[in-house]
Amino acid sequence: MATTTQPGRPTPELLAALRQGKATLRRERHMLSLPEKVRAVIELQRACLPLLARQRTPRPWERVWDTDT
């Protein structure tokens, strides 16, 4: 019987560091100024709308805001 090589697993330390990094990212985004947050929302709209459009037809209001934030 052929044996399969198990893929390498991340160490608990690496997993903890990755999770910590995610928490840090969220904390940094939390600390953004309000105009920076609104700019981030518009960037998220740009990123998410094509993904949404692959699942269903976007509703009329589901579009990237036509504003310079």
Partner: protein, 163 residues
């Protein structure tokens, strides 16, 4: 002034003009004010409309005020300076309280009333509003260090809400 600030300023102008009695930003954009940016496509605004003669609530005057400035309604939204805005008349006692207790924040020099995070969570937990996405957003709000868990407990008890 940027488009988003123009949309917020329009809310204040509507209140000053009497087209609205009061308003508070709610929904995902209110969450953005309190926590981190999330993907959302519209600006939800909880409103009290001026007293009407009959029991039927109508957004006609709100839409009319906006249309006079070139911002027209499309289905349930009005595109104000590039931002789709949805006006939601306060629909129950919890919404009234969320509006009454809203915080006044500053966006690029524009004062804006925003539903407090504890009330946002409570609104998300109302039976008619509960979705997986909203519960997730409610949980994110609760993680904020400044979140008042005691206040949320009080609101949940008074309005018979559960997780």
């Amino acid at each position: 002034m940027t488009g988003f600030a123009i949309a917020l300023a329009a809310l204040n102008e509507m209140k000053a003009a009497g087209a609205l009695r009061d308003y508070a930003v709610s929904g995902a954009m209110a969450l953005v004010f309190w926590t981190e940016p999330v993907a959302t496509y519209d600006l939800d605004v909880l409103v009290w409309l001026p007293a009407s003669e009959g029991p039927i609530v109508s957004l006609r005057d709100v839409y009319g005020w906006l249309a006079a400035r070139g911002w027209n309604a499309h289905a349930e939204h009005v595109l104000v300076a590039g931002v789709p805005v949805q006006f939601l008349p306060a629909y129950d006692a919890l919404a009234d309280e969320a509006l009454t207790t809203a915080a006044t924040l500053d966006y690029s020099g524009v004062p804006v009333r925003v539903v407090r995070p504890e009330y946002l969570v409570a609104l998300y937990l109302e039976p008619q509003a509960r979705t997986a996405k909203r519960r997730e957003r409610a949980a994110a709000l609760c993680e904020d260090p400044g979140f008042d868990h005691q206040l949320l407990q009080d609101i949940m008890m008074r309005f018979h809400l559960t997780w």
